[in-house]
């Protein structure tokens, strides 16, 4: 095997591309395609969130807020103001980036549980505003969203969306892998180790943290906007605290500081509730138990635990 294929960057990207290309063979009907699209959209959010939590070591319990703003921003601009969908998506994402930058500077000076609380508070505020501004957002009942039109063609149907989301997922993975291996990415990991030590060697820690916070918010808002166009309907539930927790759980389950882990985490935790739906009333119990057991027995997450086990020549 050529050496380049064994690195996470080339080999992993190739493996993911093959999975995306071959998966349709196993997707029997539109329902499976639907789940696959949702996995891809969640994976994009998780890749961004993993840059923040896994690499920079900064927790956020409010990313569903950015997801929701991206979704509602795109939906409102398209449905209420008649903007073209792509322009709405771009504007909503840019708006979220600006918001994340404005609140990021003061908030990211906080550490640990204080940062967790601050981001959580931010998410709660966004969710409440969304469900109360019913003139614009349709309130708790949600609002319907026109389809995403690309160059005059409406993008509809699970199959078409599958390929678009698949390509965007690859793009997101590529961006994240490049960032992590750039000097900026090394600075982030240095922050994770020790902020004080990172500052001693000349890293502007607040600037780096704000940058990755904005980037992760952009990933979330973009995927949020796409989710709105894809499903054609959104509710404020997508912006609330429980959804933020779901996103963090996906990242941690897949494995912190592992971009492919984020993808796997999104895949497992998006599919699991679908599988558990047959259990009906027991769904929550099993879901909670799975979360606890994974963290107790695989505290590093799924992908890092597996790679540590099967990595050639690396023993612990």
């Amino acid at each position: 095997m050529p050496a380049a294929l064994r690195t996470a960057r080339t080999g992993g990207m190739l493996a993911l591309a093959v999975v995306i290309a071959l998966l349709p063979l196993a997707l029997a009907n539109n329902y499976f395609y639907d789940v696959a699209v949702l996995v891809g959209l969640n994976a994009i959010v998780c890749i961004g969130l993993n840059l923040l939590i896994g690499y920079a070591g900064q927790i956020s319990l409010g990313h569903a807020g950015f997801f929701g703003l991206g979704a509602y921003g795109s939906a409102i601009l398209t449905a209420r103001y008649g903007w073209p969908p792509l322009a709405s998506l771009a504007a909503a994402t840019a708006g979220v980036a600006l918001l994340a930058w404005l609140v990021g500077r003061p908030i990211l000076r906080l550490r640990g549980h204080y940062l967790a609380m601050a981001t959580l508070g931010l998410g709660v505020i966004i969710a409440i505003v969304i469900s109360n501004e019913d003139q614009l957002t349709g309130g708790p009942d949600g609002m319907s969203v026109p389809p995403l039109a690309l160059f005059g063609h409406a993008l509809t149907g699970e199959k078409a969306w599958y390929w678009v989301v698949g390509a965007l997922l690859l793009l997101a993975v590529w961006l994240a892998l490049n960032l992590v291996e750039s000097p900026g990415g090394r600075a982030l990991r240095a922050l994770h180790g020790s902020e004080t030590a990172a500052e001693v060697v000349g890293i502007d820690s607040v600037r780096q943290k704000v940058m990755v916070f904005v980037l992760s918010a952009v990933f979330a808002a973009f995927a949020g906007g796409l989710t709105a166009y894809y499903s054609g309907f959104i509710t404020p539930g997508r912006a609330n605290f429980l959804h933020s927790i779901e996103l963090v759980t996906m990242v941690v389950f897949g494995g912190l500081a592992s971009t492919f882990g984020a993808v796997v985490g999104a895949a497992v935790l998006t599919t699991l509730p679908q599988l558990l739906a047959v259990l009906k009333d027991y769904e929550m119990v099993v879901f909670g138990a799975v979360m606890m057991l994974t963290m107790i027995f695989m505290p590093k997450g799924f992908v890092p635990t597996l790679t540590a086990r099967f990595a050639p020549g690396e023993r612990k």
Partner: protein
């Protein structure tokens, strides 16, 4: 003072006292283990729901409440023994996910054991409102505030005057040093979960006659309790009480004077502002990172 303002203050104090009890639960566990227990709100729910069931089974209120607190304490001890104690990882995020998993599990179990309906508990001593300087207060509010005062005093006595309490405080200051002087840190951890669960259950029983209880009331109460604990300064007992009361008053005043739909936005917004200005909360310890 206008009767209207007095009315808002009274209702703010009532809710704030509940937040204070929940926040104390967060702080006690945080002190013993550096864990934020996201299942704290579920303790509140289990306390309230168990009492409702026991009263329906014909037990008198006081006995039902005591049994409910005992049952919730057992749940707290089990959570520590079966999950938290087994975690090898020191990572804060891992521990957060485990307690979130526990909260989902407990909510799921509650929806199975009970149902998904709202339940009411009879008020402890009647529903007839008491007039007070132009405002009115339900007797249950007096119970909430009174019991909270007693609990705060008892906790102060426990942590400052008893050997067990001092051992827990010592562990929160320096785990290794506490272990060196012969304190069983594991037991401290276990006791902290039991104590927090009992406090949560008590809060759930006190508030159930005013706000009803249901399988999912723990989510919002847990969030508010966490917010109160952080506002006051994590790990500080007086901070938790002040944070809880402040949050309750903020909510009541913004609901009264601004908008009840936006009361949480205002409360969380002010909390964010306080955190930005005082990154360790109102009474938090200054933490120093060692390199």
């Amino acid at each position: 003072m206008s009767p209207q303002l007095l009315q808002y203050l009274l209702s703010g104090l009532t809710v704030g006292a509940i937040y204070a009890l929940v926040a104390l639960g967060f702080s006690i566990i945080y002190n013993a283990s550096n864990v934020i227990n996201f299942a704290q709100g579920e303790f509140v729910m289990i306390g309230g729901m168990t009492t409702v069931s026991l009263i329906a089974a014909g037990l008198p209120l006081a006995l039902a409440a005591l049994l409910a607190i005992a049952a919730t304490t057992l749940v707290g001890l089990a959570l520590e023994k079966l999950a938290v104690e087994r975690v090898r990882s020191e990572s804060v995020v891992t521990l957060i996910i485990i307690t979130i998993g526990a909260s989902i599990l407990l909510r799921g179990l509650a929806s199975l054991v009970w149902d998904k309906n709202l339940h009411a508990l009879p008020a402890f001593s009647g529903e007839r409102p008491i007039a007070l300087g132009g405002a009115t207060i339900v007797p249950q509010s007096l119970w909430v505030v009174g019991v909270t005062l007693v609990v705060v005093a008892a906790l102060w006595w426990f942590f400052n005057r008893t050997l067990h309490g001092k051992a827990m405080l010592a562990t929160s200051h320096n785990r290794l040093a506490a272990q060196l002087v012969g304190i069983s840190v594991r037991r401290v951890l276990l006791v902290s979960f039991g104590l927090s669960a009992a406090l949560g259950a008590l809060a759930g029983i006190l508030i159930a006659p005013i706000t009803f209880t249901a399988w999912d009331v723990g989510v919002m109460l847990g969030l508010k309790g966490f917010a109160a604990a952080v506002l006051g300064g994590l790990g500080s007992g007086p901070g938790a009480v002040i944070g809880g009361l402040a949050l309750g008053l903020l909510e009541a005043l913004s609901a009264g004077y601004v908008s009840s739909a936006y009361k949480d936005v205002i409360a969380f917004g002010i909390m964010l502002a306080v955190l930005v200005l005082m990154p360790g909360g109102l009474l938090g310890r200054r933490s120093v990172e060692r390199v």
